[in-house]
């Protein structure tokens, strides 16, 4: 008997979001679009940047350094100038991200065995990219320095550094990005669909109709959870398929573990959505509430910046963020065959969050009736 009621409710919930062509488009179009936009566009690598060179040295070493800069693949264009004013202007207007200023005595100092200076000016407004460009430039300058007479004498000829990147040997950015998006998109969809579902019924007056039916409160809750979870799992599956077959991200771990933890992740997200929904009177409030949670949740998840870099006092806040745990699982399962113990260790907090949010939502739900 309860199963018949629940089935009717779940079918209704799915139809309510999917029957309307507009609703269908919104649920399917943008997430797929986001997958491609983010995987190709949202990269932290520095490519296609311009730098400027002001070479006031007439000697061989200045020329050598300029040649090497010209040859570096990282930079799209090397601009040359003869005036410091033009250099300042180029940085000010963000035409170039960095400028190299080679002084007039550069070659002379090197030949004389004195220490020679090169000035690098970086655009601090783009701190992250500047840091990386600064690193590249230092490397190039160091390679020139190693060939100077003084450098040759100083260099111990026996040490060579061979960097090797584990898990992602070529540091392909999409290998990091696409698995992270699986977690992010499930958060977005799960939160919004759930937050809207109760609020919409309340706004349209159908909620009373539901409450006078023989459906029990927990059945309504389960029905309201099932549909967004199914939709969330659908998106997770689409993203995993695209990651493996389109982006060529290696799936080294267990798909079963991934899905197993995804269910707890979605449950905690949907619980949050329901929590927001039971607090809001209108769809507008529900959407605002969902975004109020989502933006900090994304920023404080370790998705874009490592949690360890955050201030000490802020770090405990990330402990209640389901995205934090699922990001570890999804990236781990994809790239390094995360073992069961680690998956379980990160799923347990998800289960606790889910139990808490669902419990609170159920409580709020009942309290609203009284």
């Amino acid at each position: 008997m309860w199963w018949i009621r629940l089935k009717a409710l779940i079918i209704k919930e799915l139809l309510a979001v999917l029957r309307d062509p507009k609703g269908r488009m919104i649920l399917i179009g943008p997430p797929i679009l986001q997958l491609f936009v983010f995987s190709y566009a949202a990269t932290l690598e520095v490519r296609n940047v311009d730098v400027m060179v002001l070479n006031r040295d007439a000697g061989r070493w200045g020329y050598e350094l300029v040649q090497r800069l010209d040859g570096a693949p990282t930079f799209r264009r090397i601009e040359h100038t003869q005036s410091t004013a033009a250099l300042h202007d180029a940085i000010n207007r963000q035409r170039v991200i960095a400028a190299i200023h080679i002084g007039p005595t550069f070659s002379r100092d090197i030949e004389a065995g004195r220490s020679a200076d090169v000035q690098i000016i970086l655009d601090g407004r783009r701190s992250n990219a500047s840091q990386i460009v600064g690193g590249y430039l230092s490397q190039i300058i160091a390679s020139v320095a190693a060939e100077t007479p003084a450098g040759r004498q100083a260099a111990p000829s026996s040490v060579t550094v061979i960097p090797r990147n584990w898990f992602n040997p070529n540091l392909i950015y999409q290998w990091f990005m696409v698995p992270s998006l699986v977690a992010n998109i499930a958060l977005l969809i799960g939160l919004v669909v759930t937050a809207l579902s109760v609020a919409r019924e309340r706004e349209l007056g159908t909620f009373d109709q539901l409450m006078v039916s023989p459906l029990r409160t927990h059945e309504i809750l389960i029905g309201k959870l099932a549909a967004p979870m199914l939709i969330g799992l659908f998106h997770v599956s689409v993203y995993i398929t695209a990651a493996v077959f389109f982006f060529g991200v290696p799936l080294r771990g267990s798909l079963i573990l991934l899905y197993g933890s995804a269910i707890f992740y979605l449950a905690s997200v949907v619980g949050l959505g329901l929590f927001i929904s039971s607090l809001s009177k209108t769809q507008q409030q529900a959407i605002l509430g969902a975004f109020l949670f989502m933006v900090p949740a994304t920023l404080l998840s370790g998705f874009a910046t490592p949690i360890e870099n955050m201030p000490e006092w802020l770090q405990p806040l990330t402990l209640v963020n389901p995205l934090r745990y699922f990001l570890v699982i999804v990236k781990g399962v994809f790239l390094k065959d995360l073992p069961l113990s680690e998956v379980a260790g990160n799923t347990l907090p998800l289960a606790i969050i889910a139990a808490f949010t669902l419990g609170t939502a159920a409580w709020l739900f009942r309290r609203r009736l009284a």
Partner: protein, 584 residues
């Protein structure tokens, strides 16, 4: 409603409509060559069921939309060229007030004063006048969203009157408003006409039209009638009768009478049946069926009688739904709906105090009362939407608190506004409600097919229910509410705004179901719905102030001046005297 006296002084036309037409997309025309006038210094009723084109016509008059064909002249300006000047000179009160619910009464007034460009120096005097006029002075700091329906309408009216208009357009000011507030509102508007303001009052309730100087009757985009209401009611003069003395069997008799060739229309009015017969038909033959004690006497025609006659008469008296319903044997005589000392407190506000009544099987019980008096609270406690603070409610013998789901399984619910899933198709809505009430397999298919056939939903099965015309929505809502053969039906203003034909069809079904032993609880502001009840509880200030048959309540307020009071008179007078007692 007091009838406005007609004087013969010539009044200038404030609106002239000439061949006005409007169509949206491929739908049938919303308005079809309307030619009419509205005069200054009068209340003109714009009457017709929901979807007749009333709102469209009003918006065309304001210049917010332009007609596809024809011309509209408002206060001498054509809406095509002078919309800005029209908007500066008229007052317009859209449906659903157009108030900002998150602003206080005073803030709403300030905002509209800004929007209408009312000079700062004039404001104190104007606000003072309007707050006195609308009795809203004690509530200036209250949020508009927390006002009762009647007070919201008064505030809406105040906002429309900020710059004294020469023409006032009111779009369904009576919706969601109790009879007392409606009467207040009417008096305010009447006072304005004495200053020469022209008023256009749109309404879905035909009884409101009767009090207007002149009425424009719209149906399905066509103007059926324009003129004084009495000119319309004349067409049924001498053909309207009241059949009395058939108390216990009035529903069965009405059903038979409606099947008669000679009967155009029939409705229940308390203990009596109101019948409109064909021209030349002899009503005496009807009396014969009703038994020896029945008496039949002519009575004054109403606007609605004439409207139904104009539309070719109401539907028949047979309810296929009732015929397909299994009769419930009159069992142990135990009441189906019981309220015992129901009390509801919200914080320190008591919304309902010690409400007690019993509804036996096969009875229609009505809950009436002013806005915010506690009738909705009582209704909600009895269908399980609210938990009572004290007391208990039972449906079909099940305690709503302990066996809520069992009780809810035995009740059907139909709310005032269409509250089915608009994004789902007709068939999907039926399937959802079948499933929620635990129907499955062959039984589910059988019940769905039956509902589809009875309510003629077949041709629309795959349409989204939000795209259905209002009449069909109403049928679908009833189908979903009775799909599981409930013992008790809970109706919240079930026929609000629907056309009179659909309304009669609906009550024919309900009457048929009641004859089969279904019990009905109805809450409403509309007196013609109240007339269908066997007994009524009148609720004011959270207490039941009167309980009895409609005729008994009417009899209580009969005076030598008003020997035959209407249900509305009874309502107003009983509530007033209870308020006076409370104040004393």
């Amino acid at each position: 409603m007091t009838s406005a006296a007609t004087s013969n002084a010539p009044r200038p036309d404030v609106i002239r409509l000439d061949g006005v037409a409007k169509q949206f997309g491929v739908a049938p025309p919303a308005l079809d060559s309307i030619t009419a006038t509205v005069r200054g210094g009068e209340i003109t009723g714009l009457v017709g069921p929901d979807g007749a084109g009333k709102t469209t016509l009003m918006r065309l008059m304001t210049g917010l939309m332009l007609p596809d064909a024809g011309t509209i002249e408002v206060l001498g300006h054509d809406t095509r060229t002078g919309a800005a000047r029209i908007q500066a000179e008229i007052g317009y009160m859209p449906q659903r007030f157009g108030l900002y619910e998150d602003l206080s009464v005073q803030e709403n007034l300030n905002l509209y004063a800004d929007l209408r460009g009312l000079a700062k120096s004039e404001r104190p005097a104007v606000f003072d006048d309007l707050l006195t006029f609308t009795d809203l002075r004690p509530f200036t700091a209250r949020l508009a969203g927390n006002l009762s329906g009647g007070m919201k309408q008064k505030l809406g009216l105040a906002c429309a009157l900020l710059k004294k208009p020469r023409l006032l357009l009111l779009d369904e000011p009576g919706v969601g408003v109790d009879p007392i507030s409606r009467r207040d509102l009417w008096k305010m508007v009447e006072a304005l006409t004495e200053e020469g303001v022209g008023v256009l009052w749109s309404t879905a309730y035909l009884d409101e039209a009767e009090a207007c100087h002149r009425a424009l009757l719209l149906n399905a985009g066509k103007l059926l009638f324009a003129g004084p209401p009495s000119a319309l009611t004349e067409r049924v003069a001498g053909r309207v009768f009241k059949l009395t003395g058939a108390a216990g069997r009035r529903r069965a008799i009405l059903a038979c009478a409606l099947e008669e060739e000679s009967v155009v229309d029939g409705v229940i009015q308390g203990e009596a049946i109101r019948l409109v017969v064909k021209r030349g038909a002899d009503p005496a033959t009807l009396r014969a069926q009703a038994g020896t004690e029945a008496r039949i006497a002519p009575t004054a025609p109403r606007f609605e009688d004439a409207f139904v006659d104009m539309l070719g008469g109401g539907p028949g008296g047979r309810s296929k739904l009732a015929e397909a319903t299994h009769a419930r044997p009159a069992d142990d005589g135990r009441p189906v709906i019981e309220a015992r000392g129901l009390t509801k407190k919200f914080g320190d506000f008591t919304a309902a105090t010690d409400i007690t009544f019993e509804v036996p099987r096969g009875e229609i019980f009505g809950l009436l009362g002013p806005n915010g008096a506690g009738k909705s609270t009582t209704f909600k406690m009895l269908c399980g939407l609210l938990k009572p603070t004290l007391g208990e409610g039972r449906v079909a013998g099940f305690d709503l608190r302990r066996d809520g789901a069992e009780a809810r399984n035995r009740l059907g619910y139909m709310a005032q506004k269409f509250s089915l899933y608009g994004d789902l198709s007709v068939a999907q809505n039926l399937a959802f409600f079948a499933g929620v009430y635990g129907l499955a397999g062959a039984l589910k298919r059988e019940r769905m097919a039956l509902m589809t056939e009875i309510f003629d939903l077949g041709p629309h099965a795959n349409l989204s229910s939000k795209d259905l015309p209002l009449g069909l929505k109403q049928r679908l809502a009833l189908a979903c509410a009775v799909m599981h053969e409930p013992e008790a039906l809970f109706l919240d203003e079930p026929t609000s705004g629907v056309d009179p034909i659909t309304r009669r069809e609906f009550w024919t079904h309900i009457n048929g179901l009641v004859e089969k032993g279904v019990t009905v609880l109805v809450t409403t502001h509309f007196m013609d719905e109240a007339e269908y009840c066997d007994r009524i509880s009148l609720i004011d200030r959270g207490r039941s102030i009167a309980l009895g048959t409609p005729d008994a309540l009417k009899a209580r307020v009969a005076t030598p001046d008003n020997p035959d009071p209407t249900m509305e008179d009874a309502f107003i007078s009983l509530v007033r005297s209870s308020s006076e007692r409370a104040a004393a």
